[in-house]
Amino acid sequence: MVKARETLIPKPVEPAPALVDPPAAASVVGLSKRFGKTSILENISFDVAQGEVLVLLGASGSGKTTILRIIAGLEMPYTGKVILHGKDVTELPARERGVGVIFQAYALFPKMTVEKNIGYGLRIRKRKRKEIKEKVNELLKLVQLEEHRKKYPSQLSGGQQQRVAIARTLAYNPEVLLFDEPFGALDTQTRVHLRREIRALLRKVNVPSIFITHDQEEALELGDRVAVLNQGHIEQLGTPLEIYSHPATEYVATFLGAANLLEATVQNGGLQVGSAHLTAMLDHTQFQDGDCVKIVFRPEDVVLSTSEFVRSGAAKISAGRIEEISFVGAYERLRLRLDRGEECRADETPYYLTTETPESQPTKSIIATRPKPDAAATKLQIGDRVVVAITSFTVLPASKR
């Protein structure tokens, strides 16, 4: 659990490296969309490389579905371009783009058998019957539905329908695969199973794919890179590890699972959290002494100790009292109330401008998790006083939300 000392020093968050080589298989440039006066999307740009899986992660209403529909050609952007394999397709109708869309409710043709559904793209392209048959057989094998070929969609389970939908789009070699919350309608067990299957399938077919989802676990598992969307703009775009370990904004930090946020002050090149001082290598162009910042750390980055001694690799930030303990399968989750530290308040901010007086500010509670062995080694109870340390954290400017 103890992470290397270096992780204490937060890396400055870099923008995702521009994909120069290999060239982007699919990209959108400066997309925006509005309905009437409401802005739905603002300046969305990203690239997807050949064979790469990009996940657009966001809450409902974040605009992720709209981006997908614009790429598919089902909706027109207000500004911006959609480029597939170097070709500007912004003005092309959906049918000329050669994209494959896997809809949330699968959208299989109810009056066609599995075979006919899969062969549809080739039939309307007037391919030879023999060619269609061979391709359909190949795809049925790929998605393991050979014995269901004569069935109608209504006779299949959700997961099977999903696989038919994927085979149907793969049949015509799409330029890009777009998945619109493909696991939304499935139960937890099936969705976990199916997303691993699809992940393996996508590796085989080497087509650039864009997934949209609101499920952070799904995003982290499926994506080569993840773009976190909030209210029509991209908050952060990076590898799952980057966005999980080094969230660029408070929104990203809290959207991707549990995150603890504490206020801190930049001091002597390090950070002052309450009465504790953390060494941190800060970007001095971004943070100066006296600045208010927020530190973000995950529950699993918290180390608890019943004595003043904290194991190496962890830095003390405060003491606190345990308020709640629960077991969540593989680990133990604790809620702690930290002792009141000094709140960060930039010197130039006069008291009367803050809405809350320091007295009314509640003490801060944080969440910590401990794996089972740790929990067994040091038994803790509600009401116990502990020393709280952290092994890794990220610094955010306090004003960013």
Binding site: A72, G73, L74, P93, A94, R95, E96, R97, G98, V99, G100, V101, F103, Q104, A105, A107, F109, P110, K111, M112, Y120, G121, R123, I124, R125, S154, R168, T169, Y172
Partner: protein
């Protein structure tokens, strides 16, 4: 009293209300529906089947039946195609005046058929608004064409009414999926939309046809009721009855009654087939 009634309801687990209410229902329908229908068959065949057959085979009778079938057929073809088109436009596009159009299409249901026939006369008749320009060279009223027009008018909303709800509930994502796969609008309509409408189209067509075959009120005004030329089956029944030839009227009545039995049996018993998903 109330204890007596409630005691009557169940006699040792036997629900008395059940046979009573079923019997009541049949009894009420007897004079209203069953007996009138039965009397057509009883009377029509009372003089022997050969009399019935002879009455049916009278040239004017055959002609009337054929004319009814032909005019109803063309009215059905038109109304199904139109209903499909109207349902497509009115469920896919939202525009100013959309509801007004829906109400107008559905209006002929509520208009008395005699009024419909009269309206057509006023428009296409020899002195009508448009008819007067055609009259010297071309006659619409008092021809088979007029009967088709009248049939179209009175059965106008039927196919539309059956097809539109299916369109409304049809998921747009099917058509979107088809488009992203690469289909043109026409291919999408032909391969995806139309198959889902099969049941609605068949039942809409049967309803329209059944209704058109029986049309009387508007037909008698616009056709001129000329035996052997513009006399449909219902008009034939009316004409023969007026002439006192009850057997002749009755023979055609039997055919029309059987015909509607047939159509509604198909609609009722083939529901599963018509509605398959």
């Amino acid at each position: 009293m109330s204890t007596a009634v409630s005691a009557m309801r169940h006699v040792r687990g036997f629900d008395v209300v059940r046979p009573l209410s079923i019997g009541m229902l049949v009894f009420m329908m007897l004079p209203l529906v069953f007996l009138p229908l039965a009397s057509i068959f009883i009377f029509g065949t009372s003089n022997g089947l050969d009399k019935f057959w002879a009455a049916l085979m009278a040239p004017e009778a055959i002609f009337a039946l054929k004319l009814s079938m032909a005019t109803s057929f063309w009215a059905t073809v038109f109304n199904v195609i139109f209903g499909l088109f109207a349902a497509y436009v009115l469920s896919r596009y939202n525009f100013w005046g959309r509801n007004a159009l829906i109400v107008t299409i559905s209006l002929p249901t509520a208009i008395p058929t005699a009024v419909a026939g009269f309206a057509l006369l006023l428009l296409w008749g020899p002195y009508g608004t448009l008819g007067r320009f055609l009259t010297p060279n071309f006659e619409i009223m008092f021809t088979a064409f007029a009967i088709i027009l009248a049939n179209i008018f009175v059965t106008f909303p039927l196919a539309f009414g059956v097809i539109k709800p299916v369109f409304d509930t049809m998921s747009r994502s099917l058509e979107e999926a088809s488009a992203t796969i690469g289909a043109t609008r026409w291919q999408t309509f032909w391969h995806v939309t139309l198959p889902s409408l099969r049941g609605a189209i068949v039942s809409g067509a049967l309803l329209t046809f059944a209704r058109a075959v029986g049309e009387f009120g508007s037909t008698i005004l616009v056709s001129g009721n000329l035996a052997g030329r513009t006399q449909t089956a219902p008009l034939y029944i009316f004409a023969k009855f007026n002439e006192g030839q009850i057997e002749a009227a009755n023979a055609i009545a039997i055919v029309l009654a059987l015909f509607s039995f047939l159509i509604f049996s198909v609609l009722f018993f083939a529901r599963d087939w018509l509605d398959v998903d």
